[in-house]
């Protein structure tokens, strides 16, 4: 199991995000209805899309782990969830700020989109205690994968349920025939979405590289000290053999 830190990807991420935010403020027109406050859309929506897709990616990786038994998929699934939870925090905070500006409230409890995202976020917050409550690393990885698959399946179901709900306060930008966005807005949004997806991937790879280095240092230390348990390896299941990522 060896992952390298992605320098080119990191540079591309910074470039795309800076371009996206520059387009947001200097290229995309102000929304006719909401005005300047709609600029939060170019940050909040890409973050939400990446977080939700990240949860589903984690589910796919968990399936691969259960099928192959290769611990590298478990580590990838864990890291995908971890980064998506961080994105989830950003979604909730930026969403609250937007809600306060648009609706005068920080959170609307009878709005299906907001509450469903909060439920998904809280569901994934329980992943950590579940994972670390199990000491045996193989069992830990297996249970965590089952959780990731179950919760991952819940994400699209939740999305469909919200779309079918009748009360819609939350704007449905992509529900109208022409997308509800002008060409300039759509272009800006796509650049922001691309930048955010690249950021997600970069953070995932950096996290994987750190975990991989920790695990290798732990193995090296154990080898040098004659297999004495030192406990300095990664807290998540390290690869018992070189998986060759």
């Amino acid at each position: 199991m060896s992952f390298r830190a992605p320098r080119t990807l990191a540079a591309l991420t910074v470039g795309t995000l800076v371009a996206g935010f520059a387009l947001t403020f200097f290229f995309a027109p102000n929304d006719a209805d909401q005005g300047f406050v709609q600029k939060v859309f170019y940050l909040h929506v890409p973050l939400a899309i990446c977080a939700l897709i990240g949860f589903m990616v984690a589910a796919v990786q968990a399936v691969l782990h259960l099928r192959s038994g290769d611990p590298k998929w478990d580590v990838r699934s864990y890291v995908s969830i971890h980064i998506s939870v961080i994105f989830g925090i950003a979604v909730l905070v930026t969403g609250s700020i937007w809600a306060r500006a648009s609706w005068g409230k920080w959170f609307v409890w009878d709005e299906p989109t907001l509450v469903s995202f909060l439920i998904v976020f809280l569901l994934y917050c329980t992943y950590y205690p579940l994972r670390y409550a199990i000491e045996d690393r193989e069992r830990q990885a297996r249970y965590a994968s089952v959780f990731a698959i179950t919760a991952g399946a819940f994400v699209p179901l939740n999305f469909i349920a919200v779309r079918l709900a009748e009360t819609l306060v939350h704007p449905r930008v992509f529900a109208t025939a022409d997308g509800g966005l002008t060409a300039k807005m759509t272009f800006t949004f796509l650049v922001c979405l691309g930048g955010m997806a690249l950021l997600w991937e970069t953070l995932v790879r950096f996290e994987l590289a750190t975990k991989s280095s920790r695990a290798r240092i732990g193995r090296l230390r154990r080898a040098l000290e004659g297999d004495e348990a030192i406990g300095s390896g990664s807290r998540i299941a390290p690869a018992p053999r070189e998986a060759g990522s």
Binding site: Q34, G35, S102, L224
Partner: protein, 66 residues
């Protein structure tokens, strides 16, 4: 709901983008702390490897003399 005036809306928009930036900075700070720890562990390993090499050399020398 009518659009907020720019001076009012600007605060919220700036707030949202600053929160995002702050989260990124916190993450980078955590990553750098982890990197520093890995660096320390690597230095310890270097010392450990040096000790092992030294011990093996002295064992070999003793065996050669004996």
């Amino acid at each position: 709901m009518p659009a907020l005036p720019l001076d009012e809306a600007g605060k919220y928009v700036a707030g949202a983008y600053l929160v995002f930036l702050a989260l990124l900075l916190v993450y980078v700070a955590i990553m750098s702390a982890r990197l520093a720890r890995l660096d320390r562990e690597l230095a310890e390993l270097g010392e450990l490897a040096g000790n092992v090499v030294e011990r093996e050399r002295s064992t070999r020398e003793e065996a050669f003399r004996g």
